[in-house]
Symmetry: D2
């Protein structure tokens, strides 16, 4: 039995597959097969090596638990893997076996395999990213005129539209998503340097083999090996962190909106093991859980990114669990967020109700702005405070309260006073910002 | 196939087992069985519930992957688990099924199961801790008189003994270990509060059931449920972080000592996939890798420990992967560290050689201290600098160099000068500190 | 001009003073003065050294900015400080100047000064801790019978009392506070080892000087120098992190309770620069801000705690800003939290209202528990769901709704049904847990 | 007296100035002055407001400590600042005072001021970045043919050139630097949204005022306010983290190279307070200290980046200390790194010596590669092991050892054997990689 339960909220089935033993082994085999093929193409090793690998090496033939155990002896799973691969090749072609892994170093194998797995992960994330963005754009368009209170420091503020709020969500996901896509692309680099990063064992064939191997694996050929230069992966990890934070912001807003006392939205939600009436914000919860973990995972990666000389003793060996964890956390959050948005029920009536009656105190800013040019600041401040207090205690709307204050009535035109607490009349640039933000969120990822 | 390869350096077989689906499920079953038994003892539910659980519920009957999948719908694996358990009970006793999980909430189940797994982990760590401490004490005793250079900011300093260095290692492991043992003990708390943490569903039987359940599971009965008060687990996680840092310090020292150019010690070591001469510090590398990751895991836990109201939406759900990861990281480091120390070869000759010839410049402090009372500071400083420069450039020992400087010879007695660079004569409190430090490291953990 | 604005929410005046140049310099002077005095007492240096330090060394005579600048040349502020101190001593007693800092190393000075500053910080925190605990105990006693909804995953759950909630806050602060007090006590250790940590320069006087210096500074005498063994400070930093998380939980609860739509409590609160009606939860905000930062500060400390050989090149030098930041963050949160609790207005009527009318759906668990023994689970589940739906849609209390369902009326006794949604009848162990939790929170810190 | 000592290694004078009260106040004044000017330009407020600000508001007129103290009441320094500014304006023009800060919210002021400070910081970093890159390029060119051992897991490996090593340093600094420059550019965004982020108070003038304000302050005009969308700043913080890690790698390599037992390079270095012979790697130490702290600072920022609704209660208020700390940590590291590289002395003779005599065991890979095509793997492995062992124990070079092994002599041509341990003959792609890497490092930052 594996260990899926501990990570049940921390990954998805598809991403758990990407970092499964089967997937990692297939990526390791792909490196060694590609290497053998590239070296054969340039006359470095016999063509028989690649042929034998193709015939005998399959993920399920490796004993992953045994490889993991042996990895502790040499601080890398590569050595036991190569030994096992060599034994498989020797079964069908003993002479070829000696040329397995020729000229490569353990980290060439493990890094390139990780890069291949990361690319598989990117392909899992892409449709969810596009689904989320599409859902957000649709919400924003549908609610361009749905007014609701703004909320600052968790307290009511003048109105916004739900369309503006969701456009803000969409734009930040799109911006962080663009950076993430770029970081994924930047990380698709072959790792190939041999023992000291000079490919010395390959002699004059080194360059051609490197080029062929990169194109075989559909990876970029870097300017040089990056065994202890982890900036590109660090940028990817950071981008995953920033992106997950953008998702966390959305989920936090949703979790607050679906509170029973607010009830401006509802998640499809999950049940409780004991409370029949419960409709928990499960999606938001999963997203927030991921956003809680990812900042530290970024730090873990960066701490390990300071690596000595040509190959690190510690920093590099700390990377794999962190990379796997942060990609899966991000993907788990993304999947849950896309579901949450797709299933979100919005209650415009509740939103509007939170701008009526005693809630019209949020228009105090407007009243203040109207009065200020007409009187001294202290007097305006006093009048606004009194009107706010009366609105709050009486529960009557601000427009009714101010209509009874002679000092205010005499200072402002009646049409201003009559609409002093009309939400749709105090939205400022909401629609303009909404459109500009959605324009930032127009482009999907390539899938 | 599971996913052991990604974590190959991040856990051990024994700890991977502790957090496996089988182990987690067995702990969840233990909670539900214990609950049913305790409730039956106090007349809350029929005895048949516990009987049925005992007869039908076995870890291997649960589909862990399915539970993990369903966990995403309700943001907890508990609901699907309870449903599956209820179905198993219903197979043998339909009437009993309705009383499964009676009065408990999802988090009661998941938290208590985690506490049980943590206790299993503690039992895995204990023998390794004692083995490491024993190894360190033995090294310290064996090398009480083995002189070597102190090194500050990676530069040579006056002599210490290897016995003092290893006693320092032992004492810090012992101190951090005592804190860790106390934190493990503090975290062994039953979680049991029901929906809102009041056990209201159990009526007057609540207290007795709680007490019986705690003693059944061999856990402490807390003053109240701690669903959103995570201080005890936070203290455990922190203690794991501090302890792993203490191991990381040892490994860093070892990795530096086994550098080919230093060669004052050797690890049993691991090979390279391409370099036949390599003897890599595999043990130190695994320890350093763990110490690189654990600080951020502590942060991840603390970030999630701020939890709202009676049950969190996000913080709690972020905990399980972090708890499992940090315990395994610590245990992986501990196992590797104990092996490394058990297999360490020490080269006293190399240590001594690093205090001879040009290396005797480290006694400049001593020369300076001897001269200072006899002359002005500026003059003493000049004489010491010249002696150091001559020693470094000539490669001759300091005692020979100073013997040729009349200003020094006339200021100091010949017996001082003759032994100016004798390491054993400039060890100060090394042996005294060593003994005091070892006294701090005398106690083993209870296994 | 200094830099207080950037840190305005991250410290208090009192704690900013503790880590000010004046305070740090006074601690450094205290070390050097104590050292000179202890060494004179044991005949190592002339008594004139301590006399001269006492006469000439005052914090305001040092140019802190210049020391900071020069610190970059040697990676420690100690060297420039000692040079400046020596020059001051030389002004009044040139012969004594050469014995300033005799036998000590830079880190002895800086570490001991930091330990002294940490102890000053502890004395700043203590009254606030006691004030907070006192406030929480008083709130809990006053509201032992104030019912309110429990809230899980931000959704309503069966009732609790505000007294229970605040007792939970108090107990976690008390537990984390006890650990913090112990960690402060554990960290009060003299650092004194000289160049290599052997005090070799002091010869036979080393032990006596060490003992006298420790008692002079009112610090514990450790088993040996701990230049690269940072476990005690790491434990202190961790305890600060756990404690701040406990404060963060309180503030999160308060921030949610004071939302306008919940309004079960009010903070004294702060205004807005533009919105006259605003009453922001300023106290909660400052606490949450601190709790947001501290986990990573713990990680920063732990990452630096892995230190090589006898004195680190990097890890140690990373400590000071982190130590100062986390102590101040914790203290800023504590001060704000104590104020917030002292000024909290509670609205029991609002709490009660959230358990009335449609909110009585939270008693669905109770209804379910009552029905279960009398019918099959599926039927009970259906009846509860229907009653919940009717309660929610009609806005009428659950007791009225169930009174109209014949299947329910016939199954349960009328007195059960009549009080099915009476909060005070479904509090379970709330009062018992409250008392037990408060018992954990009985002890104050020594001030 | 301020608090420069605690942060003495964590900043530079120039960066401490950027985040000083004077600088922050000047940026806050710039926002308010720019706002008044822009609003006057579009007829929103009288021109007298901007005039009065220009005449009266100077940083030194504000009491920063008082503002910091008052900030705790409202969880922002903005309110007290605006009140103080208004009072200054009122001194010269009471009527204008009421229009100070018109239509803006506290966070508009604080965020924009921070953006202005960050841009000042960028201008401090730029020359150091270019100086470092220039230094690295020069080192790489000068040492294109300087051979040295590669080192993997801190153990010797086949040769590289110091030119390749430094080119790797340069390329990673250049890549991370390009990302950092882009992140700085991306973060130069005006923050301007008013109370709820709609600029409602400005009516139809909102858009024009926003545009004018952005151009006045030389900042980009974003698609909408980003009060709770922190992705751009998060990307900047991450880029600072990645960049500092790249510096940390260089410093780690240098600190290891300057160890007395390696001595392949020397830092200008710093002294010791007690050891006259010491030449500490101060520069490397400062850089490593920064790289130790920055990962957690990134995490602190990301944790706070999840911000609720239109303005956060906690996350945002946690940002300022983190932003200031990470920029200063990065800049402190950069300055120290540029100095370290500029002053680095390289010892090619020591490097070469580490490839001679017993050190020629690093050519075992080469021997193995030559033998493999001619014999079975097992036999080749045995011969190589024996040769390695003999080389290590005798101290004689590998070429001499193998010349005496008939099985090897008969298998390989004499010219291969004669040059088996010639470093310059086993450099593979070192020069090719070096050139490609330097090409990546060709571009400087705009200053």
């Amino acid at each position: 039995m594996g260990s899926r339960l501990i990570d049940s909220l921390a990954t998805t089935d598809a991403l758990a597959d990407v970092f499964s033993d089967a997937s990692v082994l297939s990526a390791m085999i792909a490196f060694e097969a590609g290497l053998a093929r590239a070296e054969a193409a340039h006359g470095v090793v016999p063509a028989a090596v690649a042929d034998a690998i193709a015939r005998t090496a399959m993920p399920e033939r490796f004993d992953a638990a045994a490889l993991a155990r042996e990895a502790r002896a040499s601080a890398t799973p590569a050595i036991a893997f190569v030994a096992a691969l060599r034994a498989m090749v020797a079964e069908v072609d003993p002479a070829a076996a000696r040329f397995v892994h020729w000229g490569a170093t353990s980290q060439d194998l493990v890094d390139t395999a990780m890069v291949l797995c990361l690319d598989r992960a990117r392909r899992v994330l892409a449709p969810d990213h596009n689904r989320l963005l599409g859902g957000l754009r649709a919400l924003s368009e549908a609610h361009r005129a749905t007014v609701m209170p703004g909320r600052t420091l968790l307290q009511p503020a003048p109105p916004i539209t739900f369309g503006l709020k969701t456009a803000g969500w969409a734009a930040s996901v799109a911006r962080a998503g663009a950076d993430l896509a770029a970081a994924f692309a930047g990380a698709r680099q072959l790792q190939f340097g041999g023992a000291s990063g000079t490919l010395a064992m390959l002699g004059a064939a080194a360059g051609p083999v490197e080029a062929t191997l990169a194109s075989t694996l559909n990876l970029a050929r870097p300017a040089g090996p990056w065994h202890t230069h982890r900036d590109r992966l660090a940028a990817l990890v950071s981008a995953l962190g920033v992106y997950t934070a953008a998702l966390g912001k959305i989920a936090t807003d949703v979790a607050l909106l679906v509170q029973a006392e607010v009830a401006e939205a509802e998640e499809p939600g999950g049940g409780s093991s004991t409370m029949p009436q419960k409709r928990n914000p499960s999606g938001a919860t999963i997203v927030i859980a991921a956003a809680t973990r990812t900042p530290a995972l970024v730090a873990a990666y960066l701490s390990g990114a300071v690596q000595a000389h040509e190959r690190a003793a510690g920093g590099w060996q700390a990377e794999a669990p962190t990379l796997a964890a942060i990609v899966q956390a991000c993907g788990s959050a993304l999947s849950a967020c896309a579901d949450m948005i797709a299933g979100l029920t919005v209650h415009p009536d509740r939103m509007l109700a939170h701008l009526a009656g005693p809630h019209t105190v949020v228009f105090a800013e407007r009243l203040s702005a109207l009065l200020t040019p007409h009187m001294e600041r202290e007097r305006a401040t006093r009048l606004v405070r009194e009107a706010v207090a009366m609105t709050a205690s009486s529960g009557r709307p601000l427009r009714e309260v101010v209509a009874e204050v002679p000092e205010i009535v005499s200072a402002l035109p009646p049409e201003s006073l009559a609409r002093i607490d009309a939400p749709e009349a105090y939205l400022g640039e909401a629609e303009s910002f909404r459109r500009r933000l959605l324009a930032e969120a127009a482009a999907d990822w390539e899938v």
